[in-house]
């Protein structure tokens, strides 16, 4: 075997089980790849000692034939997951030096099943962003290169301010970049408005946001509690299915997690989708949609038709209200969730002349501008006199959006197909500096899914004219991730696995 980092998670698992490969060897290969890829800034913390210790333990288990479903599989962990004794800051300066004394439910389940932690992944600060540029630790460079640029040019940019290189998307930008650059076999991510699906689409990887309540939020640094959901990013649909099975499950420590059995998602791969009804919502055909996105979408429709699915035109009439309503609900919850970062108990503290002064100085220094903006928006929309006009109306809209989907599913629709993003990846420093809404528009196809609490998967389905990956999104019925995996598998096969970039870094 030449480069084991090129294996898919499923291939590596099989090689480990059949003892053709050791976990230590596999982990070591990833650690070396991470070291060489530091300039991409995907990992903000590397945990080689821990990784090798875990790999060693996995090898012992594998030798005895006692390995778990993820035994010896090296993964990257998004920085918002609490990892015991390891840097956990949601890439914010306000959590400066914070190392929790506890492990998030999702990551403990991964370790329970034998996975190996390589390190913590970069992300937008508190998961607020669509390009990974709001991270306190700086932007992540996508392994994909802009058209006409070569490795030599790109290495120069990496050494500088990274301008002109492509964003990996966000907020799970580190996760997507690490997976696409073969710096792990899969990564945990999280999705509040599109933070798994958009970066997956930008990097030619697969990402699924499961149904709200499918994974425990316990130990995930909260952004917007009613929207946040954990999920994986990996290189194939199958790899996502394998990871999600370990990540999902009921947790009595999270009152919003659902007590329902977790299926073996991998088994849904390869299932026939003949006769499945696929809804095509007309409202997602937004004004000014580029020809390449139109083509991507119609290619997707053709793939599914060819596999025997029935294509049905549907209407989700409240779609266009989702983004503005999302930008009320999410900041409102965030403004309250982030109140605990006050300099009193942990993280950053900037001394002040009295308690208010300490609060103000600490939060001013600790939060980046996008986070401050959202705290201010959230505080405003919850204020006396504005609450009914903003928050209450946004909640009503949310109910209507949910009902749109319910009506579609009541018609017998099994899943809904849309583009994942309005465009391919853009350049670092290119968007949102003048008008933050420009950046927010990235989430236009994904936020509806969070607002309705539904599962959504992004799967690569083609390349743009510039040779950059484009993804399609499938939206499912509540807790029917299995159907999404089946259908996504069909698209993946029809479109052909994306050929990820060779290492130029």
């Amino acid at each position: 075997m030449t480069d084991v980092t090129r294996l898919t998670l499923a291939e590596a698992r099989d090689a480990l089980q059949s003892k053709k490969l050791s976990a230590t060897e596999l982990t070591q290969a990833h650690l070396s790849a991470i070291e060489k890829a530091r300039a991409l800034n995907a990992y903000i913390v590397e945990t080689p000692d821990q990784a090798l210790a875990m790999a060693k333990a996995s090898d012992e288990k594998l030798a005895k034939g006692q390995g778990g479903p993820l035994e010896g599989i090296p993964l990257g962990i998004k920085d918002l997951y609490a990892t015991k004794g390891v840097h956990t800051q949601s890439c914010s300066h306000i959590l400066d030096g914070f190392k929790p004394a506890y492990e998030s439910t999702v990551t403990s389940q991964l370790w329970r099943d034998g996975a190996v932690m390589l390190g913590k992944l970069n992300m937008d600060e508190f998961a607020m962003g669509s390009s990974n540029e709001t991270s306190y630790y700086g932007p992540v460079a996508s392994p994909w290169l802009p058209k006409g640029r070569d490795g030599a040019w790109a290495r120069q940019q990496l050494a500088g301010d990274k301008k002109g290189l492509l964003v990996p998307g966000g907020s799970s930008g580190g996760s997507a970049a690490a997976v696409a650059a073969h710096l792990c076999l899969g990564a945990t991510a999280s999705d509040t408005g599109g933070s798994i699906r958009q970066p997956a689409a930008f990097t030619g990887t697969v990402g699924i946001k499961p149904t709200y309540g499918r994974c425990s939020r316990w130990g995930m640094v909260a952004f917007a509690s009613s929207l946040d959901q954990a999920g994986p990013i990996a290189r194939t649909v199958r790899d996502c299915a394998i990871m999600l099975r370990s990540m999902a499950g009921h947790d009595p420590k999270d009152a919003t997690s659902i007590d329902a059995p977790v299926p073996n998602y991998e088994e849904s791969l390869g299932r026939s989708i003949k006769g499945k009804k696929i809804g095509i919502p007309k409202e997602y055909r937004v004004e000014g949609m580029s020809a390449e996105i139109e083509k991507l979408w119609s290619d997707g429709i053709a793939f599914l038709k060819a596999a025997g699915a029935e294509i049905v035109d549907i209407s989700l009439p409240h779609t266009k209200t989702a983004l503005p309503a999302y930008y009320i609900v999410a900041p409102a919850e965030a403004s309250s969730n982030l109140a605990r970062y006050d300099g009193v108990r942990y993280g950053l503290r900037v001394p002040g002349k009295d308690i208010s002064d300490m609060y103000e100085k600490t939060r001013r220094a600790g939060f980046g501008s996008e986070v401050r903006r959202r705290i201010m928006i959230g505080t405003y929309v919850l204020s006396a006199g504005y609450y009914d006009a903003y928050y209450v109306r946004a909640q009503k809209i949310r109910t209507l959006i949910k009902r749109d989907f319910e009506l579609a599913y009541a018609q017998g629709i099994d899943a809904i197909l849309t583009p994942a993003t309005p465009s391919a990846a853009f350049g670092i420093g290119e968007k949102g500096s003048a008008d933050p809404v420009e950046m927010y528009l990235n989430d236009v196809f994904t936020v509806t899914v969070n607002m309705a609490g539904l599962p959504g998967i992004a799967v690569p389905a083609g390349l743009s004219a510039d040779g950059l990956p484009l993804g399609l999104q499938l939206i499912g019925r509540p807790f029917d991730e299995e159907t999404l995996f089946s259908i996504a598998g069909v698209i993946e096969e029809a479109a052909g696995r994306t050929v990820l970039p060779q290492a130029w870094w």
Binding site: L80, A82, T88, S90, L95, F98, P100, A101, Y102, S104, R217, W218, G219, M220, V221, A222, A224, S225, S226, P252, K253, D254, A255, T256, A332, E333, S335, S336, L338, A339, R340, D342, V344, R345, Y346, I355, S356, Y359, T379, L382, S383, A384, Y387, Y391
Partner: protein, 490 residues
């Protein structure tokens, strides 16, 4: 609209009569092993930050999970207040920054509380009863405590109380005097203690009151109210209302206006003073807590809890009046504490219930109060006091001797009253021969008094006293009376 005060409740100002209007928010700590949304202990005391979970300290990524026992306690309390139980309620976040509030918000129930309207029947005096409406009862988290006296430069925070479950019981503005307010709190505390849902311990802060006071001319609309925060004794509640009402009347009579504000009662100075200015007025930005689903349960859950409720003070009082023939006042005093009522019943069963009530209320309670003891710490047991009542009833000892006996039993814990009477020769003399001898002796020794008594029969008392003295108080007073009357011919 609340009922108007009786004229006797009005207070005189310089320019005429004023009526006080009082409403109260009582914060009652729920009796439970662990906190409202975490598994940490609710035990009082301990070193600072001994009882703090990751949730209480608001560590990143921590989530609240509701403690079912606290929900049951709130429902039980609602049932005890004859209140509407809401099968669906929601939790909201009340947002503000304070070092003893780790989350930066308090989880409370703002829009849909678990308990709706109810009533409390309050005995203000033995003859005066009022009904105070309960507006709502909701569950919320307590905050921690800031400690400012540990260091000259820094403040410290103790999170032991952070997250402890409180029931906020909001009354309607149905009270019109300090006495009514005090009686309401006292009655509410009695109900909570009966239910076992709050220990009612005001010194430890398990029960605190925010008192809303306003004044108005009789018959006029409600005046502007001030809220006196965190008053922690019934006596202080009374004092705070008195001084606050006087303050408001003074301002209005001087042509001023009352500012709606939060005030603090300073018992040392006997005054209330403003806590925070209007510029610092909080906008709490309430919104539904997205970490908690709406709280829903069915009527069966409520019915099961209702079946498990103990007899409550009002019902117990009615039963005491009916079954034991007690006057309302006696019954009311006996049911104030569940333990006292139980103590009384143990004595009253199969005995003269009225005599038992007198002994419990007058002798036992009197003595306990004097020593500052609780009924559960009474040196005289129900069995012992029952034996004393028996001894009187049988005519074995006189009422006067019984008081001496009570004192001996009090001092010599565990002694058997019946044995004591035997050992110490305290038995009442009912042997008419012995009494007659004493009577004869007194009559023979006092011929002048005999003459006087014949003219003035009230002199009989003097003879009774002499005979009792002669017999060491042990003679049966009835026999003494009868014999004296016969022998003196009156």
């Amino acid at each position: 609209m609340n009922a108007a005060a009786k004229p006797s409740k009005l207070i005189k100002g310089a320019t005429g009569d004023w009526e006080i209007v009082i409403g109260m928010e009582i914060h009652a700590q729920v009796t439970s092993q662990s906190k409202l949304f975490s598994g940490a202990s609710t035990e009082f005391g301990g070193d600072p930050n001994d009882h703090v979970s990751l949730v209480d300290a608001a560590m990143p990524g921590m989530l609240p999970v509701i403690n079912e026992e606290c929900i049951k306690q709130a429902v039980r309390t609602g049932l005890g207040l004859k209140a509407q139980i809401n099968l669906r309620s929601t939790f909201d976040r009340k947002n503000y920054f304070y070092p003893d509030l780790p989350q930066g918000y308090q989880i409370s129930q703002f829009k849909s509380p678990i308990v709706g309207e109810g009533v409390v029947i309050v005995d203000v005096t033995p003859t005066e009863q009022i009904t105070v409406g309960v507006e709502r009862l909701h569950l919320e988290q307590d905050a921690g405590k800031s400690l400012h006296d540990q260091s000259p430069t820094d403040s410290f925070v103790d999170l032991n109380r952070s997250g402890v479950a409180l029931m906020e019981i909001v009354s309607k503005p149905d009270m019109h005097s300090a006495d009514e307010a005090k009686a309401y709190v006292s009655k509410l505390r009695t109900i909570l203690r009966y239910l076992g849902t709050c220990d009612g311990n005001m010194e430890q802060g398990s029960l605190r009151a925010d008192v809303n006071v306003s004044v108005r001319r009789p018959g006029e609309p409600l005046g502007t109210r001030c809220e006196i925060k965190n008053v922690n004794s019934i006596r202080f509640i009374g004092q705070a209302i008195e001084v606050e009402a006087r303050r408001q009347i003074g301002i209005i009579e001087d042509g001023g206006k009352i500012d709606q504000e939060t005030r603090l009662f300073d018992p040392g100075r006997g005054e209330t003073r403003s806590m925070r200015s209007k510029e610092e007025a909080h906008d709490y930005r309430y919104f539904p807590d997205p970490d908690l689903l709406p709280l829903e349960f069915d009527q069966t859950f409520v019915d099961d809890l209702a079946r498990g409720l103990p007899e409550l003070p009002d019902e117990k009082k009615a039963r005491f009046m009916r079954d034991y023939g007690l006057p309302a006042y006696d019954a009311g005093v006996l049911v104030m504490e569940r333990a006292s009522a139980d103590f009384y019943e143990e004595i009253a069963k199969g005995r003269d219930a009225k005599a038992a009530a007198n002994w419990v209320i007058n002798e036992l309670f009197g003595r306990l109060n004097k020593e500052g003891l609780d009924i559960t710490a009474s040196p005289v047991s129900a069995a012992q006091l029952g034996a004393i009542v028996d001894l009187i009833g049988e005519g074995t000892i006189s009422g006067k001797i019984a008081k001496d006996l009570f004192e001996i039993v009090w001092m010599e814990r565990g002694a058997d009253p019946r044995a004591l009477v035997e050992e110490r020769g305290m038995k009442q003399v009912t042997d008419t021969g012995a009494i007659e001898a004493a009577v004869d002796e007194i009559i023979a020794a006092n011929p002048d008094k005999v003459e006087q008594a014949k003219a003035k029969p009230t002199m009989l008392g003097w003879f009774v006293g002499q005979v009792m003295k002669q017999t060491g108080g042990k003679a049966n007073p009835q026999s003494v009376n009868d014999l004296l009357k016969r022998k003196l011919g009156i």
